[in-house]
Symmetry: C2
Subunit: 184 residues, 2 copies
Amino acid sequence: MPQRMDVLRWGYRLGRDPRITTHLGLVARALGATGFLLTGDRDDDLFDNLQSVCQRFGGELETTHVPGLKHLKNHVQNGGVAVHLTMYGESYHDAIEKIPRDKHLLIVVGGAKVPAEVFKTCQFNVAVGNQPHSEVAALALFMDAWQGHKSTLREFPNAELSIQGTNDGKIVVENNSENTNEDV
Amino acid sequence: MPQRMDVLRWGYRLGRDPRITTHLGLVARALGATGFLLTGDRDDDLFDNLQSVCQRFGGELETTHVPGLKHLKNHVQNGGVAVHLTMYGESYHDAIEKIPRDKHLLIVVGGAKVPAEVFKTCQFNVAVGNQPHSEVAALALFMDAWQGHKSTLREFPNAELSIQGTNDGKIVVENNSENTNEDV
């Protein structure tokens, strides 16, 4: 039984970050996180969008606003492991070998300004390359490597819609009606 | 000598997509693309931002606005291979085994509305999971898998700044002055 994995987006800014943060939430869901946590501003619409994706495409994602440092410190004090994704960190290829697999994993995705206390509280500060690119890409690459590059090979129960991948068009299956809608 | 690899962002919309599209350009650069091409609206500021990153962190990225379908068709007619990333495509794990490695690779990143002709012109329609998530994540995961999960292990020549990854703070090296700035 794999340990629980959550993603914490640090320092969300309402009005500035909704698309990037929605992408982070969708990546968290698609690649197997149990929860997607926000610190910073509250945004019920963003959580509603993520729940709507779960409704249509299946699975569950817990979406919660949390007090950042307090949540992070509690997580570590309760025996969890916290991994902060930052371009200043050590290579994820090296870090993944060291991160314990028998603990509740919290992946902290930073933003523009992450306080020094986050670096210090997280047991691992991990870089997906030391170049500036994207927290969405970093989260995806870390989650996928952590799961042996099989993170996208999962089933989502109770989906209303599912997609059958093909090189020749679009096949969307409506699971309730047993209809298949082919397009392109 | 590996073949050239470019990333084409389809259907850019000025005012709506700048952050997501900037992230795509930064991922393209960080993971080894030679060029980042846009169709749709023109945006010199976006290209300037990407060039500014190259200036500071090294390497080169060709940034070009291209006529979408014409560029894509020319690319294929001239012997190139085009891979369209779409949640409707076949699994990238399977596709990567089939995509020829001896041709100029164009990775097409779709947006909300990609015309059927893109699906038909690209030799490969490839899904990074058949779940909705993020074109930024899909691009990163595809590029990394294509390069044997070593896409972030590259050098960027002529960088003004470089970062030495560490678990204990921030180390930024100013390459011209030989100064090292440690923080946190």
